[in-house]
């Protein structure tokens, strides 16, 4: 029988140890091999590199989410350009059947309808529903602004209860709230009857700052998200407050702040395909931002004008297909 090599002897001893959890009898093993086999328990107690990397990634994502939900204090000037009851970047839903959509928001998310501007035919030109400390805007879709299926991140006190109410109100479950979401929060997802996706989350294991968390944040799945960050910074004076990238540069999550309010983006993949959205954001100077956005590559939809409701307004489309309604509040008293 040919003599086995040290590598063969070592592997035989290791295989015996791994299969029986018993060391090979000393008599059957050369001392130098035994010395190597004695390292096996230490090797088996090591952390998996994948686990270490995944946990780091989870923590980075959570940091990014925390920065998303506790925006830095807006400058004093913000009080002058933003309506007081408009703290967030509002997703603007244009849907076929806006009255039914309002009913859904009220039933599913305990929304409070605060404005409804009807057209003569009964459709809705503009409406606002307050949810938690935030606001959602909506209207009936039309030829110029067709319905889009958007994604919104909700922070609520009890994700399970809200998720159950959403299903009761007609939403379909994507997945029930779970503690295993990479964000570390309790997190579920559902699709409403209009095809919009809602991420329903409750902060878990961390304490929001004194500002609390914004209930509503638009969430954009973007193709080439890494290109959106420099664009949005140049176009809208935005600041990426938390960017979590994979080692190969894919944006896994980023929080973008514009004038003290935030939205979230990530790279579109799998089920989360690009979802061009309508967004309404208050900025310090609509005219200046409009010009800046066009210079950065945005396409103008409506140049700045003074709207009858007291805002300086304009709209643009960014290179990723999102429509931005820009606004600066011109009033001197808060409504």
């Amino acid at each position: 029988m040919p003599k086995r090599s040290p590598a063969e002897q070592l592997d035989q001893a290791i295989s015996a140890l791994l299969s029986t959890s018993q060391p090979l009898p000393e008599a059957n093993s050369h001392p130098s091999i035994a010395a190597l086999v004695s390292l096996v328990p230490s090797l088996r107690s090591m952390p998996r590199p994948e686990f270490k990397a995944a946990l780091k990634s989870e923590l980075q994502r959570r940091i990014s989410m925390k920065e998303a939900t506790v925006p830095s204090p807006a400058p004093a000037k913000a009080v002058q350009f933003r309506r007081a009851n408009f703290p967030n970047i509002a997703p603007y839903f244009l849907v076929e059947g806006a009255p039914r959509f309002i009913d859904f928001l009220v039933a599913a998310f305990e929304g409070t309808e605060r404005i409804r501007v009807p057209r003569p035919d009964g459709s809705i030109m503009h409406a606002e529903v307050a949810i938690g400390n935030s606001v959602i805007e909506l209207g009936d879709a039309n030829e110029q602004y067709p319905q889009r299926q958007m994604t919104t991140h909700l922070y609520v006190p009890d994700a399970d209860a809200t998720f159950a109410r959403a299903l009761q109100a007609g939403a379909a479950s994507i997945y029930a709230p779970t503690d295993d979401h990479p964000s570390g929060d309790r997190w579920g997802a559902a699709t409403d009857p209009f095809g919009n996706t809602w991420y329903i989350a409750t902060a878990k294991g961390w304490v929001p700052g004194p500002e609390g968390v914004l209930t509503v944040q638009p969430y954009l799945h973007v193709r080439n998200a890494h290109d959106m960050i420099p664009f949005i910074e140049a176009a809208l004076d935005a600041k990426a407050t938390g960017v979590h990238k994979s080692p190969d540069g894919i944006v896994r999550h980023a929080t973008i702040e514009i004038a003290g309010a935030t939205f979230e983006i990530d790279e579109a993949s799998g089920e989360s395909q690009p979802n061009p959205s309508y967004l309404h954001v208050y900025v310090p100077d609509t005219d200046a931002i409009y010009a800046q956005a066009l210079a950065a590559g945005a396409k103008g939809v409506h140049p700045p004008y003074t709207a009858p409701y007291g805002d300086r307004a304009a709209s643009i489309i960014d290179p990723f297909g999102n429509t931005w309604f820009l606004a600066t509040y011109l009033g001197t008293t808060q409504p």
Partner: protein, 192 residues
């Protein structure tokens, strides 16, 4: 070696650096990464020395760092190493883990042992040796490191590893041998 027992009155340059790192992370949470990289190994080996189950150890390590991140703004530097705070969080998580597992008596015993103000030098020595060993593994040539991880952490057979790395089984055994031989040479006669 026994960092937790170092007198707090005269902070070492190392402690001062650590304090700066903690304060930087408190001011900007994105800098928590640095603390994670420094302390991950110690926390993991602290836990795995008490919870002899990799899945549970990973869950608890995850819990410790999530809690540390959540409570970092409230952390106050009192002269002890930052790792001592992490070990305290880990101790509580381990006790809770055993209570959840209905191993009350073990939990009570553990709670008693963890109630000591400092870890024993034996504990710390064990953790430091494991950390050192882990870092030696990380410094192995990439192909050897991968074989070691696949064999001992992913529980793959020599045949599976050979297929995955597109090599012969004999070559994988040689790489395994070289890796362990290198590690043994680096740590000498000591336990890993």
């Amino acid at each position: 070696m026994v960092a937790a027992r170092r007198p707090a009155q005269q902070p070492s340059p190392q402690a001062a650096d650590e304090r700066l790192l903690v304060e930087a992370a408190q001011a900007d949470l994105s800098k928590f990464d640095v603390l994670y990289e420094i302390h991950f190994d110690r926390v993991y080996f602290f836990i795995v020395s008490r919870v002899h189950d990799r899945t549970a150890a990973e869950d608890l390590t995850s819990e410790v760092f999530h809690k540390a991140l959540a409570h970092l703004p409230n952390y106050e530097w009192r002269g002890s190493p930052f790792s001592a705070w992490l070990f305290r969080i880990a101790s509580n998580a381990i006790v809770d883990h055993f209570k959840r597992s209905h191993r009350e008596q073990q939990a009570d015993d553990l709670e008693h042992s963890l109630a000591q103000p400092d870890l024993s030098s034996t504990d710390l020595d064990f953790i430091e040796r494991r950390v050192h060993f882990f870092r030696l593994v990380e410094q192995l040539p990439e192909i050897q490191r991968r074989v070691v991880c696949e064999r001992f952490l992913e529980d793959r057979s020599i045949r599976e590893i050979a297929q995955r790395l597109n090599k012969t089984e004999g070559a994988i055994k040689q790489l395994q041998f070289r890796a362990l031989h290198t590690l043994r040479a680096q740590i000498g006669d000591r336990d890993a």
